[in-house]
């Protein structure tokens, strides 16, 4: 009796160990692939961030006789402005980057919600068509969007200036409008971001990125709206809530659990929106719309400062990590109101 119990528990123990190991066996191939394509470059990059790696070292890489280990000099140079690069102050770019992401989200989320609420009106004609239409910007690559909007804001031939010209013509002015949207450096509102001016390009890019950003928010809000039970509005209308009171007291709080993660996602998207920024303004004028990732690219492509670029990428990695942790935390802290 006693022995059989023991044997059973022994073999059960074996089975348990097997069960614990098995998942790792399955993960092994993926781990091998990731080592080659992810971990190796990552570690390599950290190593060269401590060197003065330049074009001359490309051939022999780490074995290059000219390669010097310079400790944290690259990091110090980046933060203190010691890089041989014009118009670059790390903290200004960082502030602008955060500002850029925050202001985009602050515009996209309310606009997305508002449009979702309007399109959700009962008995609205052609609902399905609108829904198909606003998915379009979500599926068009940001490169295309950036290029198209760059053309729209072209000083001479852009649709925006032509449109404005047509408008001022109505008021009797004959001069064509020639606003240098993407190249004018003098800021229209100098005090708005004290750490560095917001050029016209910023506003132009806000407009263009709005086109890119709101549909996703509308998509999420539409889904969330449909999950709000209709009888809550009925109960509220009997309780005495007007349309706008229902919006603020029911719609907004019940959309919150869906919109906060969406906003966090939007924030990280805008924060790292390389394609769009690179193709629309290239970070200009005078790096005023540069974000961290476009600057990292510039360090390699134009300035060939591989070591500094590597160090910069490591910094960006940590910034992104912090952004991720913070947004993740905010997202999880937003409890869902739905049934547990």
């Amino acid at each position: 009796m006693a022995t059989t119990t023991l044997e059973i528990s022994k073999s059960a123990g074996m089975a348990r160990i097997k069960k614990a190991i098995l998942p790792y066996v399955y993960l092994l191939p993926a781990f091998v692939v990731m080592s080659v394509i992810t971990f190796y470059p990552l570690i390599y990059q950290v190593i060269i961030s401590f060197t003065d790696f330049q074009t001359k070292d490309l051939l022999k890489q780490l074995a290059s006789p000219n390669l010097n280990y310079i400790g944290v000099k690259n990091y110090v140079d980046i933060v203190t402005g010691g890089l041989p690069v014009q118009n670059f102050e790390f903290f200004r770019v960082l502030t602008y980057n955060i500002w850029w992401a925050v202001t985009n989200v602050l515009v996209h989320v309310p606009a997305g919600v508002l449009i979702a609420v309007l399109l959700n009106t009962q008995g609205l004609w052609g609902k399905k068509i609108y829904r198909a239409l606003y998915v379009l910007p979500v599926v068009i690559p940001p490169i295309v969007v950036g290029t198209v909007w760059k053309n729209i804001f072209d000083e001479q031939y852009g649709a925006m200036n032509q449109f404005l010209t047509a408008v001022v013509h109505l008021f009797g002015t004959a001069d064509p409008v020639r606003i240098r949207w993407l190249t004018e450096y003098t800021p229209p509102i100098p005090w708005l971001l004290p750490n560095g001016p917001l050029t016209l390009a910023y506003y132009a890019m806000m407009i263009a990125n709005f086109w890119l950003g709101w549909p996703f928010m509308t998509l999420v809000a539409t889904g969330a709206l449909q999950s709000i039970p209709k009888d809550l509005y009925e109960a509220a209308s009997i309780d005495g809530a007007s349309g706008s009171q229902q919006f603020w007291n029911i719609t907004v709080p019940l959309l919150r659990p869906a919109m906060i993660p969406a906003a966090m996602y939007g924030f990280t998207m805008s924060f790292n929106l390389f394609n769009f920024v690179f193709f629309m303004s290239g970070g200009g004028p005078a790096r005023s719309t540069e974000i961290l990732v476009t600057f990292a690219y510039d360090l390699v492509r134009n300035l060939r400062l591989y070591g500094a670029a590597a160090a910069f990428s490591v910094i960006v990695f940590f910034v992104a990590l912090i952004v991720f942790l913070v947004t993740n935390r905010i997202t999880r802290a937003t409890e869902a109101y739905t049934e547990a």
Partner: protein, 366 residues
């Protein structure tokens, strides 16, 4: 004085008529239950009163005021929804206070009313919780509490107990009745459950297919159903029906079902005389069919030969499922009955308590 009046009320959804020309009057402080099978239009009738649906034609009055074009919030009503419709992001306290805050009632008054209602409903401990942290029964109380604090002139309930388990339902039934006595206001209560209707209502309105069938006190509905539908709907187990004919047999009038013939007592025969040879439906409730060995004294009992198909022992009574020719029916007999499955036997129909309906109009003949 808060009465409620439905006058020729019609509600159509497209081609579909959900409420078909309903007329009734609910007196002040009455507990009216609208009862009927699922999909008969009860909820729609209630929502019309609440102002959540627009009336297609007719008038609804609360007191003397026609409310057809009055917004829900200005009708001085409160409603308890079947789903409870609690605001999921607000605490129990805030759920109850919501309507009062919107009406700019001052803070102390809100607090007084909410704590008082919570006290009455026994949910004082739950005031800080969110709805998702409550059981079904607790949510139901909060929904009632939200209605009470508003101190409305009319309370509307839409199947408030249908999401609760059987035991809790019985308990809440009693509590809602108590609440009605305590508040002394008009209650209009929708349910598909005739037991709920019978136990709570001062009057019941039976609805079928959008039409009002009959409105009366529970006892009168039970004793004098106006038509076949009401007769079958009110009472559990349901009344037994036997299609048949009224025939003259000498100086008596008899019910002939083809399988058995029972004479109508002379004292009751008068209303049926004009209907001889008509197709009718004979109805008798299960408790008015007795085991021949246990017939109560002084009733006008008639023998019917049957075969016992199924027996259900309930402890204080026995349900017998009986077969007589092509008819199967239920009897609710004395628990001492010795009748067993498969047995050929005689049961006694109490001919002081029967119902006869015109087979074509389904109206009661009486």
């Amino acid at each position: 004085m808060t009465s409620v009046t439905y006058e020729n009320v019609v509600k159509k959804f497209g081609e579909m008529t959900a409420v078909d020309n309903i007329n009734f009057h609910v007196d002040d402080k009455e507990f009216l239950v609208l009862v009927g099978p699922s999909g008969c239009g009860k909820t729609t009738a209630l929502r019309l009163l609440a102002g959540l649906e627009e009336i297609s034609s007719g008038e609804i009055k609360i007191g003397d005021r026609v409310v057809n074009d009055v917004a829900p919030k200005d009708r001085d009503i409160a409603m308890v929804f079947q789903s409870y419709a609690l605001y999921p992001h607000l605490s129990v306290y805030d759920n109850m206070a919501f309507g009062l805050k919107l009406r700019k009632v001052n803070k102390d008054e809100i607090k007084r009313r909410v704590t008082e209602a919570a006290d009455v409903l026994g949910i004082t401990d739950l005031l800080q919780r969110k709805p998702r942290q409550l059981s079904g029964g607790q949510r139901q109380r909060v929904a009632v509490g939200r209605a009470i604090v508003r101190e409305p002139k009319v309370f509307l309930f839409d199947e408030p107990l249908s999401n609760l388990d059987a035991k809790l339902r019985v308990q809440m039934r009693a509590e809602i009745s108590k609440l009605h006595q305590r508040l002394q206001t008009t209650f209009i209560y929708v349910t598909h459950d005739q037991t709920e209707a019978m136990t709570m209502a001062t009057r019941i309105a039976v609805i079928n297919k959008g039409k009002l069938q009959q409105i009366d006190t529970p006892q009168n509905l039970y004793d004098h159903p106006g038509n076949l539908f009401v007769a079958g709907f009110i009472g559990s187990p349901a009344m037994n029906f036997f299609p048949g004919k009224l025939r003259k047999d000498g100086d008596k009038i008899v019910v002939d079902t083809g399988d058995f013939v029972v004479p109508i007592p002379a004292a009751k025969a008068a209303p049926y005389k004009p209907h001889t040879d008509k197709d009718i439906i004979f109805g008798i409730r299960p408790e008015n069919i007795h085991d021949a060995d246990f017939v109560p004294p002084n009733i006008d009992a008639e023998k019917v030969a049957v075969k016992v198909d199924v027996t259900e022992l309930m402890g204080n009574e026995i349900f017998l499922y009986l077969v007589s020719g092509k008819n199967t029916f239920v009897a609710r007999v004395d628990p001492r009955s010795k009748l067993r499955v498969g047995q050929q036997a005689q049961v006694m129909f109490d001919m002081d308590n029967f119902h006869i309906f015109d087979a074509s109009t389904e109206e009661a003949i009486r």
